[in-house]
């Protein structure tokens, strides 16, 4: 009899454990999202339709067409390499904390907290920016239709209405939200692609202004446009066959969106995007017809608002995960009984994003915020690339290819980040670099604070959808209590890393004799 059939026949006589091991994330609706719904979440976060209008604008402003296309291609390749690094984790675990939980597995708690802060800043920041742009485009649509919403009170009302709809969709359930996002994004994408395919008309593309570090801004804009491909990773515990569907999404999203952006850059090159960009920048004053301007703004509104919703959705899972780990107040772990969504975390994120967006209509901070968010994205990607190397080493599954590509990606990302910081300082803008450095060191400060005040909580970091008793063949796994007494599946022979130190017999003391 083979060892396998022996283990199987033994399993029928093995009793169930008295206290079964359960996943810390089981309160969320497990195993519900299908592959297409997970893909919808990721694609919606990247807002390809809106980026297809904004990216050509950046290309036209800062670079010559050829370098623009090449830069976008390069950024797509870089992001794809990062995506490959992310799949090292998504093939092996499903975590509601996304990159934050992944970095923990490779680089430990301090780097995880740094990533957590960066990712939270990224998602809240880009949700704010897209909500801001989305409500501005919505106001433009309403303005064209003769409804004036330019006053302060009106702006606040539009924000509140948009946020209420988004919140209702998200609380209703992850599946419902994903399908709604997919419908909205697909509609606006089709529309923008159709417009770009129109034959070139109108004025020739304006010559680039030759602003300093133009290529840097094109590259950053492209990276930022592709960022968010990883937002599916936050939904691992809620997806069906997560190790397969999330991995597929993480690899597909940069390819789909990168392809669309290269297409958009080509459109800018051949002058096809000029009509679109002019209509976006100057409305009907550019000579575009009113229906076109309204339709364009409607498409952009949908894309941006879908992105704001998807970003808030992802951020809520990160906050929920940190709540489960007790890093953030435990009330954030409240889950709706029927819809199985973390409504408290969703409400907090949505409130934060809405207030920030409404405030930024009064205070012009959008440029600084954009720079900060882009730097946070790059920093988080570098961390996850480095973490993937360390992680594979730790579990002894590294292959030369995996390590090599991760190294290339992390070096390229570091170079980009350093160039951005230097360029901003050279341009006599110290505000953004100061915020970036502060945010990047916030994780380490937080780690220090926790280690002094609540060292026990640091051992909870890295919660993921671990194997439950019900997943393991009875009698084939060894369960041991973790640092908090909850049973977890451990290696049978070697003691696991996170087991509490066992009391050993005191060493022989010659003086005691």
């Amino acid at each position: 009899m083979s060892a396998l059939s022996d283990a199987i026949s033994r399993s029928f006589s093995a009793g169930e454990p008295e206290r079964p091991a359960v996943s810390p994330l089981r309160a969320l609706g497990r195993r519900r999202l299908s592959g297409i719904e997970v893909l919808a979440q990721s694609v919606a976060t990247t807002a390809p339709a809106a980026s297809m209008v904004v990216l050509p604008m950046t290309v036209l402003r800062y670079a010559t067409p050829l370098t623009g296309v090449l830069t976008i291609l390069g950024a797509t390749i870089l992001i794809f390499l990062i995506a490959v690094c992310v799949t090292r984790f998504t093939r092996r675990q499903a975590a509601a904390g996304g990159l934050y939980s992944f970095v923990f597995q490779g680089l430990g708690t301090r780097a995880a907290l740094t990533t957590g802060v960066a990712i939270l800043a990224k998602y809240v920041g880009s949700a704010t920016l897209t909500l801001y742009s989305g409500t501005a485009a919505l106001s433009a649509v309403l303005g064209e239709l003769g409804i004036d919403v330019t006053g302060h009170a009106a702006t606040v009302a539009v924000h509140a209405a948009v946020a209420a709809v988004a919140l209702a969709v998200l609380v209703r359930g992850a599946r419902f939200a994903a399908l709604a996002l997919l419908a909205v994004e697909a509609g606006s994408l089709l529309f923008i692609v159709a417009l770009t395919l129109l034959p070139p008309a109108g004025p020739a593309p304006p010559a680039p202004t030759g602003a300093p570090h133009g290529l840097l801004y094109v590259a950053l804009a492209a990276v930022f446009a592709l960022a968010g491909f990883e937002s599916a990773t936050f939904f691992g515990p809620e997806a069906k066959r997560p190790l397969v569907t999330i991995t597929r999404t993480v690899l597909l999203t940069p390819l789909i969106c990168g392809g669309l952006f290269v297409f958009a850059a080509w459109a800018a090159w051949t002058g096809r995007a000029t009509t679109l960009v002019e209509a976006y920048l100057h409305g009907t004053a550019s000579g575009a017809s009113a229906p076109l301007v309204i339709a364009l703004n409607l498409g952009l509104t949908c894309s941006w608002l879908a992105s704001a919703t998807a970003s808030s959705h992802a951020a809520s899972r990160l906050v929920y995960s940190m709540g489960v780990e007790r890093l953030l107040p435990p009330f954030l772990t409240a889950v709706h009984r029927r819809f199985r969504t973390p409504y408290a975390a969703l409400l907090c994120i949505m409130l934060l994003v809405t207030v920030a967006s409404a405030l930024s209509t009064a205070v012009p901070v959008a440029d600084t915020l954009r720079t900060v968010v882009r730097a946070m994205v790059v920093a988080a990607y570098v961390l996850v690339a480095v973490a993937s190397i360390r992680f594979l080493r730790r579990i002894r599954e590294q292959t030369p290819g995996a390590v090599g590509w991760a190294l290339v990606a992390s070096l390229a990302g570091t170079a980009l980040l350093a160039y951005l910081l230097v360029a901003r300082v050279v341009d006599a803008d110290v505000g953004a670099p100061a915020v970036i450095v502060a945010l990047l060191s916030a994780g380490a400060v937080w780690h220090r604070h926790l280690r002094r005040r609540r060292p026990g909580d640091l051992t909870r970091v890295g919660a993921f959808d671990c194997a439950e008793s019900a997943d393991v063949l009875p009698g084939a796994g060894v369960f041991a209590p973790d640092a908090h007494g909850n049973p977890v599946l451990v290696a049978g022979r070697a003691p696991p890393r996170r087991r509490p130190p066992q009391r050993e017999a005191p060493p022989h003391d010659p003086d005691a004799a």
């Binding site: 396998l4 059939s5 195993r31 579990i395 599946l489 996170r498």
Partner: protein, 231 residues
């Protein structure tokens, strides 16, 4: 081969050890191991560095273990006739060895969370039917709620099981998954022992617990299936 290696090495076997024991090149072994984890045949231990056998390996028991008591495949044609008549997923389960084993899956209706039926008998029509005819199997310890409508009170479950024994039909409405309902009727051999069941599974609202016509149809086909098996 990989599963055999994990079984030999025991809980916590690392990918590298599995690769060298099974003789499969590392890169290939790592990819295959990840697929086996994704499908639940293996699980990773809590620090992700090693593997243990997953519960789904039991599905291989038919190939390596003792043969099943009854051969349900002879009734496949009858089951297909029923499938042609209804829009719901029709599934046949065997209760051999006092556990649920799906022996005829509806090819047109994917059944998500099949393992949950086996592991949480109190939450499905198929599982409750088994529990109602095997008093010794009743779960000890707390009943896990899978949805808001899962029966978790032991007294309520006992009442439900006795109702199933009396009526000879088990219902399930949103109990194992929100939006899924099912009806199951027993398959009884010549000594009236329940050897399995036939279940209609579909969306809540389409499959109704008081659908007498469907229940009658299932009973008729249950008799025909048993006749085929026993023939």
């Amino acid at each position: 081969m990989l599963l055999e290696a994990v079984a030999q090495l025991g809980s916590g076997a690392t990918a590298r050890d599995i690769s060298s024991l099974s003789g499969i090149p590392p890169a290939t072994a790592y990819r295959l191991l990840n697929l086996l984890v994704a499908d639940g045949f293996l699980v990773r231990v809590s620090d992700l560095s090693g593997f243990a056998l997953g519960r789904r390996t039991r599905e291989l028991a038919g190939e390596v273990g003792a043969p099943a008591a009854e051969d349900f495949s002879t009734a496949h044609a009858v089951v297909e006739q029923l499938r042609a008549r209804v829009r719901f997923g029709i599934f046949v389960a065997s209760y051999a060895d006092d556990r649920v084993r799906l022996v005829d899956r509806d090819p047109d209706h994917e059944l998500a969370g099949e393992s949950v039926i086996r592991t949480h008998l109190h939450a499905s029509a198929i599982g409750k039917l088994l529990l109602s005819h095997r008093p010794g199997l009743e779960p000890r310890g707390p009943l896990r709620p899978l949805t808001g409508r899962t029966i978790v009170e032991p007294d309520t479950l006992a009442a439900e099981l006795s109702r199933i024994r009396e009526s000879g039909i088990a219902h399930e409405v949103d109990e194992i998954r929100v939006g899924r309902s099912a009806l199951a009727v027993p398959l009884r051999d010549s000594r009236m022992t329940v050897i399995g069941c036939i279940a209609a599974i579909g969306r809540t609202g389409r499959v109704n617990s008081d659908d007498e016509e469907l229940a009658g149809l299932l009973r008729t086909y249950a008799e025909r299936i048993v006749a085929e098996i026993m023939a």
